[in-house]
Symmetry: C2
Amino acid sequence: VRLMAPGKTSASATARERARASLTADIKEAARSQLTAVGADALSLRAVARELGLVSSALYRYFPSKDDLLTALIIDAYDAVGEVAETAVHAAGPRPPRARWLAACRAIRAWALAHPHEYALIYGSPVPGYRAPEATIGPASRVPLALISVLGEVPAGDSAGPFSTGETGRKPEEGPVAAGGGEDTGGGGEGTGGKGGAVLAGQAAAVTAALLGGSVRPEVLLRGVLAWTQLFGMISFELFGQFARTFEPADELFEYAVARMAQLVGLLVK
Amino acid sequence: VRLMAPGKTSASATARERARASLTADIKEAARSQLTAVGADALSLRAVARELGLVSSALYRYFPSKDDLLTALIIDAYDAVGEVAETAVHAAGPRPPRARWLAACRAIRAWALAHPHEYALIYGSPVPGYRAPEATIGPASRVPLALISVLGEVPAGDSAGPFSTGETGRKPEEGPVAAGGGEDTGGGGEGTGGKGGAVLAGQAAAVTAALLGGSVRPEVLLRGVLAWTQLFGMISFELFGQFARTFEPADELFEYAVARMAQLVGLLVK
DNA sequence: TGTACATCAGTGAACGCGCGTTCACTGATGTAC
DNA sequence: TGTACATCAGTGAACGCGCGTTCACTGATGTAC
């Protein structure tokens, strides 16, 4: 049983193959619009089939089960937001890291606002009974990698500040005092309970080695992770309604937050 | 039609009233365990009734519909985590603000880890087709209010740093340089696009007036809001699996983040 | 180029299931006099 | 204290519904010689 005739590339596909690819895309598109109408896990194969004018059993020619369709949607969503982030980071022209950072944050938020249900699918509560397969972790890491890649370019002096990897105490370190008041002074590192950072340092090193080719210092990585969580915390709160009746619309709050994150992460104004 | 006999308080209830209160609690308890087993919106009245050894229609004596049961669970969950936060903040003995802050963050995370599905119910993606009623917003604000109340005690000098409410530029301001290196220097406020902060300043003022009795300065409030979003961003990422294969277990990452948040929020080491 | 066969897309009926909600009913619990 | 009546909790059957998945089937599309 040959899956593809020899010499056949996906570029020169048969009519049947092209039809299959096209309908597969249609199914996912219809499923996405289902998602918009009804929400993540109430997704119904029969409704998708209905929207396409097919009989429900026909979908089984394309996805062996509902979970597989869900997996495809999740991977697509991660890839979509990942590409948005990467594009923003690498956008035309050499811009300073801070501008790229802000652009990435804004682009991610814009995508989330435009695709709230796909956002909820990947960053909301996990769909009960669904276990994400390995295949999602690659696409899922595109956004954090894109964000952290910006930080990798920052020269050592710029992302100042203490980071105690192992000790409970901390090494005071004179960071550069740039334009603007010295703020957020005072130390961290304390109160980690017990050993204080050994596990974390190991995790940071492992991530750096595995995903970043060892090119990013652990303290930069960790700040990037914090900013990553804060960015998505902000977006999730906005989309999931926690700002209702207080900070809605949240555009300016987001800008404020993103500017703060840039500081956190070591990206100065100039 | 009298709802309660005259002179009757809830303390001296009839057997019937006590039975009703007790079974109402049982129903919610069973629903919560349903939640644990299956997840937020797949909650089934029939399954709840089954767990209690009742017939499904019996539940309609206690909750007029499934949505009302869901609302009760949501309010209970907000109240539960709110109380945990308040207790941590006001815990015995006069402790410095920073210690109370850290205690609150840890207590909230501990609650979330112990009740992941209730957490997902209130901080995860909204249940499709369910519209949260007004009655949830009071309980929902207990956590942010508890967090911000800690900040209200911080003397003006300690939570230093510029906050530009209206201008696109920023006023450099020499904050106190406490023990530890000056870090996270550099300005914010820029890049808010256009007017730059007028809406945000208004929202902050309104929230301060409405919920905090005007006792908290807007820049403190805003930092509290940021820390609030970051805290829950962190917890959500942990619970929803974004740290899988990288920062799990996330205990030390959480401690690191929480220490950072304390800085962000103006709470120094000492 | 033409024929014989294999592959595949989509059909339609059926399976067994669980769901939320309604309704008339029965006993038990409470209230008024 | 005792009786007549009202209130309420829980029952059991039924409603109409949508779901995921299976299966044998039909035509159409592709392949080998």
